[in-house]
């Protein structure tokens, strides 16, 4: 048992919090919500301290590592650590969990039961943080699974609409994906004799034949693609996002989807480079289909949450395209897109939840218009999130779309012509994205002036949204803040798989 205690502490904090709530009994219903804010707040503080301690000059090296044996016979080791790839996601997770706890202080969905609600959220946080901090394949799988049961309960109990079937589809679909992924991990283990991600990345797949690499990459890729989700494996997502309670949608879209794309970059690219090279063009094509499909499907939606859910499919398509370019620019853009999408879509789901609280509906056809007049500040945040989501330059969303497309222009694979075509198709996707979000704004916000007022942004809502707004602007203006962290890691990952193109600092 060696290493620094930062990550174990970060994981144990929410775990201990949920155990306290489990043991505390029904009395805890009174103080569960503030307790959740305190625990997640402390977690955010820990993550920020870790960010401060992190040596960003050496971000391609795993830092704050911790190793402890767990099950010798399964070769399972608690191997934790962060580098430039995972640290931003760890901080994002802590931030969104804290904001969700803050938001839920006053906006606890039916049927209440704060103790169970907060307990499940904390358990969810353990799984999310653990997946990003894992440096062992089997451990990654375990944390991947930890997330499922709490999320299923959150949708099943606190959701709305067709929540039961949405929750069941969500879990059956994602478990099928993760079991397939496990088969891939076991194949890697059987072929190399180790599950240590750092060791495997160092070997660059030399221990495995091309065929084995391809099979493993396919199995693992399918599992991760369900999570991301990559078209056509996305069908669980719209129902789950729509039915989930607001905070659940925020974490689903903001963090959980990233486990898929993070896994592709962390596991498939460095550990199975030959497999990744073979699969990359197909992945790129599916990503672009996702971009276009997400945009068109969003256009057809009448439910605001459902629309945001489909727009996520499109955005994750850009992330997938970026990864599939196998270039430093593209993969950095993908990692940037991960964070940007987490911030922006988190904000969108928050706003959608608040609009629903005021109007009681999210149906674009029957919803009252003129949000700008009724609640100017709420209207502004919705407008801000929408233009950030459609990729306005100067805001974070832009880099998440621009860099993957830049990478597709000079892909790290021989199929240049294909990527150029894909690039053009993807570019049309951004246009559609602009179209459907502007349609939303026109429909919801820009109606004729009216004297009907609804409650505008409350203090609590403002507190939980402002950090997101601030970060979206900050990362939009200064993308190097994040690219400086991910850049060196991405280069070391790609050194085995594609050509290294140094990030052009924009």
């Amino acid at each position: 048992m060696t290493g620094s205690w930062w990550l174990p502490a970060l994981l144990c904090l929410p775990l201990a919090g949920s155990l306290v709530l489990l043991v505390a009994g029904r009395r805890a219903d009174r103080w569960a919500l503030p307790f959740g804010v305190a625990v997640t707040g402390l977690g955010l503080l820990l993550s920020l301290l870790m960010l401060a301690r992190f040596d960003s000059g050496d971000s391609s090296v795993v830092q704050l590592g911790f190793v402890a044996p767990w099950i010798a016979q399964l070769d399972l080791t608690l191997r934790l650590g962060v580098d430039g790839l995972s640290l931003p996601l760890v901080v994002l997770t802590s931030l969104l969990c804290f904001l969700c706890a803050l938001y839920s202080l006053r906006n606890l969905p039916e049927p209440g039961r704060p103790r169970a609600y907060v307990g499940l959220f904390l358990l969810l946080q353990v799984g999310l943080l653990g997946a990003f901090a894992s440096l062992d394949l089997l451990l990654f799988f375990v944390f991947f699974e930890v997330v499922l049961a709490p999320m299923w309960f959150l949708i099943d109990t606190w959701g709305s609409g067709e929540k039961r079937s949405a929750a069941n589809v969500f879990i059956l679909y994602t478990v099928l994906g993760s079991v397939v992924m496990l088969l891939g991990f076991l194949l890697v283990w059987a072929s190399t004799g180790t599950t240590d991600m750092v060791l495997l990345a160092g070997q660059r797949g030399e221990q495995m034949s091309g065929g084995v690499q391809l099979a493993a990459a396919l199995l693992i890729g399918v599992g991760l693609a369900v999570k991301t989700p990559v078209w056509p494996l996305h069908t669980w997502l719209p129902d789950a996002h729509t039915a989930a309670p607001t905070a659940g949608s925020v974490l689903l879209a903001g963090v959980m989807l990233k486990m898929g794309t993070y896994g592709l970059v962390r596991i498939v690219l460095p550990q199975l480079p030959e497999g990744a090279r073979v699969l990359a063009p197909y992945l790129a094509a599916l990503g672009v289909v996702g971009i276009v499909y997400g945009a068109w499907a969003s256009f057809a939606q009448h439910d605001l949450k459902r629309l945001i859910a489909f727009s996520s499919v499109g955005h994750m398509g850009f992330v997938v395209l970026g990864i599939a370019t196998l270039t430093a620019v593209g993969v950095n853009g993908a990692m940037f897109g991960n964070i940007a999408h987490g911030l922006i879509t988190g904000l969108l789901f928050f706003v959608a939840g608040s609009v629903k609280l005021r109007y009681g509906t999210l149906d674009l056809r029957t919803m009252p218009r003129s949000l700008y007049a009724r609640a100017p500040r709420l209207g502004f945040v919705l407008g801000f999130a929408a233009v950030a989501s459609l990729g306005l330059p100067g805001l974070a969303g832009f880099w998440g779309e621009f860099l993957p497309m830049l990478g597709a222009f000079h892909p790290g694979v021989p199929e240049r012509a294909l990527y150029r075509v894909l690039l053009v198709v993807a570019a049309t996707g951004t246009v559609f994205a602009a179209a459907y979000f502007l349609r939303v704004l026109r429909r919801v916000a820009q109606g004729p002036d009216t004297d009907d007022r609804v409650r505008d942004v409350t203090g609590l809502e403002a507190a939980s949204w402002l950090p997101l707004v601030f970060l979206v602007v900050l990362l939009g203006v200064l993308p190097t803040l994040l690219l400086g962290l991910t850049g060196p890691t991405v280069e070391s990952i790609l050194s085995g798989v594609g050509e290294v193109v140094t990030v052009v600092a924009p």
């Binding site: 099950i71 399964l74 089997l138 499922l148 478990v175 088969l183 283990w189």
Partner: protein, 486 residues
């Protein structure tokens, strides 16, 4: 050729249980009718048997100079004995309230239970086919009577009859198999057979057929395809603790026998692994699909335990292809069985609590259990999650990972894929059941919620022990995986 001195220390667990069974009967003879004393005595007997499980491995007795020993405690046998005795202890705890509530004759009940358990302890230590078959049969014989013990219940009779018929048929087939094996190898001792099988000339189709026929009795015990059809009706008709016993201890005996047979024929997996693989695959898929449709709790657990037996078969069946698995075949099998014993007995304990209020409970009777009795509900959720292999039931997840690592190592991909699909189907019935525990019952808003389920001390203790073991094995699964070396 003479039988050497008997080492009673090695035989102690079997002797303690067998003699203890008689003591229980005598206690009942002199006690008042309906007294709880036989239950206490039975519990103490099992505890003593647990202490008597040999601490030193590699004990052997009843040895014959040329042919090895008839009774051997090696690391595998020791692990099986430990799990069997622990599981029997939980079953005794489970039984107290059922015996009292259903007015079962307590002396006979515990006598039969301990008699069967004594044989179950002996199974992994037998070293010849005849003893193996006899001991396996002694495990079953008392259970016929135990299943039928609910007097005046028509279903109990039917349940016992089904169990009996299946047992008789499988034993008859197996006996014929023993004859074929003896004819082919000239030996009935496992050592002798293993030595003969090392010679490729002996590996004839007749020998393979004989082995497969012997396997019939094992597949019947573990309720795997094609000998699984008795399980749902028998479990449902039997008293709940007896169903729990059949699903755990009796199964453990079957798997112990299977491990012995597989080790004996280890040099020639082609003869048996394919049969196991087909049985495992059909069992996993078929039982999980069948379980989807169940509304009765015990019947669902019956199909679930059939499906779980299919998972446990996977490591041995994976030897259809040769390759070096990352996890030892026996390690994965025994670890799964240890974890399965805890989580399945736990689930049966909670069902037994609910069954006191609603006889033969449906899943709807579990609605809101966690709101009425928080600990009972949360425990049940943990057991169901573990059976499904989903965190927070981490022990169940690790058990499945261990099992799945074997076919992926040997290259039996179709088997690994089948198991992957089967686990996903399994989720579709475990999870909705778990969800019911936390749901508001209809009408709860209008009136006071129903009071907590009364939990008799035996059932509470059984649930607590099972929960403790499940949680400990979730945090430190190495305990289960380290039960046998290698």
């Amino acid at each position: 050729m003479s039988i050497q001195t008997v080492d009673y220390a090695v035989l102690a667990p079997v002797l303690v249980l067998a003699l203890g069974a008689l003591v229980v009967l005598v206690t009942d003879l002199f006690g008042r009718p309906g007294s709880s004393r036989p239950g206490w005595v039975a519990g103490i007997v099992v505890l003593v048997a647990g202490i008597a499980v040999p601490q030193t491995l590699d004990g052997r007795t009843l040895c014959v100079a040329d042919d090895g020993c008839a009774y051997v405690v090696d690391s595998t046998a020791w692990a099986f004995q430990l799990i069997v005795v622990s599981a029997t202890f939980v079953v005794v705890l489970l039984s107290a309230s059922t015996v009292a509530d259903d007015h079962l004759p307590s002396g006979e009940y515990y006598f039969l239970l301990l008699g069967s358990a004594a044989a179950a302890v002996a199974v992994p230590s037998t070293r010849d086919l005849v003893s193996l078959l006899v001991v396996l049969e002694v495990v079953s014989l008392p259970t016929f009577a135990l299943v039928a013990m609910k007097r005046g219940d028509r279903r109990a009779g039917e349940a016992a009859l089904k169990l009996f018929l299946y047992s008789v048929v499988s034993v008859a087939v197996a006996l014929y198999g023993v004859a074929l094996v003896y004819g082919s190898t000239g030996s009935v001792t496992l050592i002798g057979i293993a030595a003969a099988v090392a010679d490729p000339d002996v590996r004839t189709p007749v020998l393979a057929a004989g082995l497969v026929m012997v396997l019939a009795v094992v597949l019947f015990k573990i309720a795997a395809f094609p000998f699984n059809a008795w399980a749902p009706d028998t479990y449902q008709g039997a008293p709940v603790p007896v169903a729990a016993y059949l699903s755990v201890v009796s199964k453990l005996a079957g798997f112990a026998g299977l491990v012995l047979l597989a080790s004996t024929f280890a040099a020639w997996p082609a003869a048996w692994a394919g049969v196991l693989a087909v049985s495992s695959a059909v069992t996993m898929i078929g039982a999980n699909v069948a379980a989807l449709r169940q509304v009765r709790a015990v019947r669902l657990l019956a199909w679930s335990s059939v499906a779980q037996a299919g998972y446990v078969l996977v490591p041995l069946a994976a030897l259809v292809d040769d390759g070096r698995p990352q996890v030892g075949v026996l390690t994965a099998t025994v670890a799964y069985l240890a974890i399965y014993a805890a989580m399945n007995l736990g689930a049966f304990s909670v069902v037994a609590v609910v069954a006191r209020q609603h006889s033969d409970p449906t899943l709807a009777d579990f609605d809101g259990l966690a709101r009425r009795s928080p600990w009972l509900g949360v425990s049940m959720a943990v057991f169901l999650a573990a059976l499904a292999g989903l965190p927070p039931g981490l022990s169940g997840l690790f058990a499945k990972v261990g099992v799945l690592a074997v076919p992926t190592g040997t290259g039996a991909w179709w088997l690994a894929g089948t198991m992957a699909v089967a686990t996903v189907i399994g989720l579709a019935y475990y999870l909705p059941w778990a969800a019911r525990l936390f749901r508001r019952t209809p009408g709860e808003e209008r009136r006071e919620p129903a009071g907590p389920e009364p939990v008799p001390i035996g059932l509470g203790a059984a649930t607590a022990v099972a929960l403790l073991v499940t949680v400990v094995l979730s945090v430190a699964p190495g305990l289960a995986f380290g039960l046998i070396d290698g």
